[in-house]
């Protein structure tokens, strides 16, 4: 269920990016898509009642020196979070570039409407 809602968010973003005529709305749509994918990555690593995957002294069996089973069964996967952090930074970069191009285009054409920004054809 959460996965299908996440996919719905992705499709909403894609719809917005493809259908909308306003440049800023297209950018918003792309960012919604990006966040849907980030959410998906986070959900991959989600675990009910999970704990941070940092091994403290209490997680090591004092007799055998092994990590206790309860920790192995409840610790969450840290990798998706690292991936999401990277993805957020990348999307920040592309968002900044997109918005700055929108602003420059507005200065040149005086409009955000892509149906009126059509010098290139053929």
């Amino acid at each position: 269920m959460p996965y299908s809602l996440c996919f719905l968010l992705f499709m909403l973003g894609l719809y917005c990016a493809v259908v909308k005529k306003n440049m800023v709305k297209i950018v918003v749509g792309i960012m919604v898509m990006e966040y849907a994918v980030n959410l998906f990555l986070i959900m991959l690593g989600f675990r009910f009642g999970g704990e941070a995957p940092i091994i403290g002294r209490s997680h090591v069996d004092s007799e055998t020196g092994q990590i206790v089973a309860s920790f192995l069964n409840s610790s969450v996967d840290p990798l998706p979070q690292a991936l999401v952090l990277t993805a957020i930074v990348i999307s920040l970069g592309s968002l900044a570039l997109m918005i700055s191009i929108c602003i420059r285009t507005y200065e040149k054409y005086g409009t955000f409407d892509i149906t009126q920004i059509r010098r290139l054809k053929g």
């Binding site: 792309i30 990348i90 285009t105 010098r119 290139l120 053929g122």
Partner: protein, 504 residues
């Protein structure tokens, strides 16, 4: 001498961040430094031919850490990237004088090179996505570098479609991670061999195809290319058409399809159909163009089709269990065409830049009779045109010949017929270029046109010599065995990739 693999990424990346500090006064120094970087990368790429190597970043052993993998396919692409970028950089030393902020341009250029080298070397699928984004972001900015009406519009269009492609790739990476629990391509490939494809992985493969297809501008996804490539400054058009669409699109797609997911008949046919569509549609659209660079951009779509066709033909033949020699011939044709196209299409875009700089226009109807005024540009452009059309002994002839032989051998006679037909369309396109740009009457306002000097000519002549000599890559058995065969073998070996990487 073995070259540490991270240098291919670290040198351009470090220089890219160093260059903006040079400011206005250090423009010459910045240009020299950037040229030194691209030339040293070329030397490194030549030195790394024939080597296979795995580098573990920070000594973290795989699958815990990220690894860089150098194999036959990677070194072929590295060589192509460094040849094109060295020539384009040399060309821009003079060409970019007409723009302000040259240091920023050089910095973005090197960032793009770093991203492409990273894509080619990465053995980790998320890392591949990160480098893909570095290269794409730099290219979005470079397309809009002129900051005029057309450039901004093209850059926005390119950026929207490119970002959607990148997000599809990221989504596919997430799905792959969810289904296999690893991001290392060798381990993903092993997990898929062990458990087979499920619905999630099939969906991921579809997303990869669309995402990389958008980057490669295959025909249903090509809308951005004819706007973006002509709008960029000429050396950047050469980089984008010559190598960027191949690294981010074709290479990544081939790597994922052949080495990670494994070939199947359906994906093979999908690639063949995409290739044929691109070839035919690109060629038809190109013939009607009157803008010199736009014509060349459409012809890039058509030529990319050849590469995808060759690779798809190979995939289908491998999946069918047909004779492996046939499959490797088809893939050889595709990859050889990739390298050839990198050289002659970048040369064509450089000559178009030279013509544009001399005449101040890109419209073919306003030109004519430039053969006497621009003798060297004319000669190099003719060499490149002869190559792209496929006139023996120039390079394009050999790769098209190999593709036709491969198609006939596999008994796809209609594919061979289409290849020959599209070659004819290409001939019409470039006859048109020759006729309207270099022959005919010289218009009044172009009487004072002068040939460009210095580094621009050196870059064009360098690439033109390569165009003539590239045929040797298949004709001399030693060269073929050193450069092309290992690349073909990586693809025909398919899923053995994971064992190879772990064994190194």
């Amino acid at each position: 001498m073995s070259i540490p693999l991270p240098l291919f990424i670290a040198i351009p990346l470090a220089t890219a961040f160093l260059l903006p500090m040079f400011g206005r006064k250090g423009k010459t120094a910045a240009t020299v430094l950037a040229n030194l970087v691209t030339i040293s990368l070329l030397v490194f790429a030549v030195a790394s031919i024939g080597k296979t190597e795995v580098y573990e970043i920070g000594k973290w052993s795989i699958p815990l850490g990220i690894n860089l993998v150098l194999d036959g396919l990677s070194s072929l692409l590295l060589l192509a990237i460094s040849v094109v970028s060295a020539a384009a950089m040399l060309f821009s030393a003079r060409y970019m004088e007409q723009y302000t902020a040259k240091a920023k341009y050089l910095s973005l250029f090197l960032l793009m090179v770093a991203g492409m080298n990273g894509v080619v070397l990465s053995g980790d699928i998320f890392n591949l996505f990160v480098f893909l984004e570095i290269a794409s972001l730099a290219s979005y900015a470079l397309v809009g570098f002129g900051c005029e009406h057309e450039e901004l519009e093209a850059s926005f269009k390119y950026m929207v479609l490119g970002s959607i492609g990148s997000i599809f790739v990221l989504f596919a990476v997430a799905l792959v991670y969810g289904n296999t629990g690893t991001l290392n391509m060798a381990y993903i490939s092993e997990a898929i061999q062990y458990s087979g494809l499920n619905a999630g992985l099939d969906f991921a493969l579809a997303l990869f195809t669309v995402g990389f297809g958008l980057k490669a501008a295959l025909v249903p996804f090509h809308a951005w290319l004819p706007d973006a490539h002509p709008s960029a400054p000429a050396p950047i058009s050469a980089m984008l058409s010559g190598i960027l669409i191949k690294t981010l699109g074709i290479y990544a797609l081939a790597r994922v399809v052949f080495n990670v997911f494994g070939v199947s008949i359906s994906i093979g046919w999908l690639l063949i159909v995409l290739g044929l569509l691109s070839m035919v549609a690109g060629a038809f659209l190109a013939i009607g163009q009157w803008d010199l660079k736009r014509l060349m951009a459409y012809s890039s779509i058509s030529q990319i089709g050849y590469v995808v066709l060759g690779i798809g033909l190979g995939a289908t033949l491998i999946a069918r269990g047909a004779n492996l020699a046939w499959a490797s011939l088809a893939i050889l044709g595709g990859l050889f065409h990739l390298v050839n196209h990198a050289v002659y299409k970048s040369l064509l875009f450089l000559t178009s830049g030279s013509v544009e700089m001399s005449t101040g226009t890109r419209q073919m109807k306003q030109m004519g009779g430039l053969a006497e005024k621009l003798p060297i540009t004319r000669t190099t452009c003719t060499v490149a045109s002869a190559s792209i059309v496929g006139i023996p002994p120039f390079s394009g002839f050999w790769s098209k010949l190999i593709l036709v032989i491969a198609a006939v051998q596999a008994q796809f006679y209609w594919i061979a017929a289409i290849i020959v037909f599209v070659s004819l369309c290409t001939l019409i396109m470039y006859l048109k270029v020759q006729r309207y740009v270099f022959l005919g009457e010289l218009p009044e306002n172009l009487q004072q046109v002068k040939e460009n000097k210095g580094s621009m000519l050196v870059a064009m002549v360098f690439l033109a010599c390569l165009c003539v000599l590239m045929g040797l890559l298949v004709l001399v058995p030693d060269l073929k065995q050193a450069i092309l065969e290992p690349a073909v073998k990586v693809l025909t070996d398919g899923l053995k990739y994971s064992a190879d990487v772990k064994g190194m």
